[in-house]
Symmetry: C2
Subunit: 166 residues, 2 copies
Amino acid sequence: MADKTLDTLFHETLRDIYYAERKITQALRKMARAAQDPKLKEAFETHEDETQGQIERLTKVFELIGKRPRGKTCDAIEGIISEGEEVMEEFKGSPAHDAGLLAAAQAVEHYEISRYGTLKAWATQLGMDEAADLLGQTLAEEEKTDGLLTKLAKTAVNTAAQKKAA
Amino acid sequence: MADKTLDTLFHETLRDIYYAERKITQALRKMARAAQDPKLKEAFETHEDETQGQIERLTKVFELIGKRPRGKTCDAIEGIISEGEEVMEEFKGSPAHDAGLLAAAQAVEHYEISRYGTLKAWATQLGMDEAADLLGQTLAEEEKTDGLLTKLAKTAVNTAAQKKAA
């Protein structure tokens, strides 16, 4: 296992998040269609566009390490997305639907925040400043999206879920 | 579906994290055994103890809503933990092993941060101040653990992975 260094780990984790991002693009499209609140719908659409840019950045990072962009099944994102689908199904037509959908999206964001945080730190450790910068840009976008979702939850979505439920 | 209100969603999500926490306890035990760095091992052990307290808090929240503590399979945590096990297996004996293990633990922490953040906000929305307070205590612990892991990664674990790999 001596050949399995931090470089290998970096590459494997890059493949993991590359797979995840493509799954997330599909999931965001479904979530945008399912969202009832127009602002939540818009947030999902905006983030879907952003995700395309994030995939491009990942492609550049693959280039920087001289590897072909190739995904690797990410069990974590499969599980997180499948929970989101379950909530969409189970709460369809319920006033709490959007609150559940938004929470599922925040679970996705947090997975990405942990992965990009890790990858950025590893890139820095490996002396790959350009890669660290690209990964840091995406990390900042994910954190911004998570903050926006928290704001939407507190100002509109949770209140709507509770009001109609009363 | 009119009966599926924010209360229902809160209860379902509580069951999800209750299941997750018990899986996490087992995972942390394995991770503590597998960690090479003594500080990382200690961090996992401390967090395993903390997780017991978090499960007790969840039991209290179940009581507050008049429900029996019962878990519900959480696909997300299954996927996240399975990725951690994969990295432990694949990087066993490699200098990058602990870096991969630490990253897997941060993915777990971030899942919990997203869930407790959501549950706390919903408890507040539902006017359940005591529940919100209990969930907020756990949220603060998860955020603290994540910060501690980031610090450990940057000050010791990533450097060790890189140095030995050189």
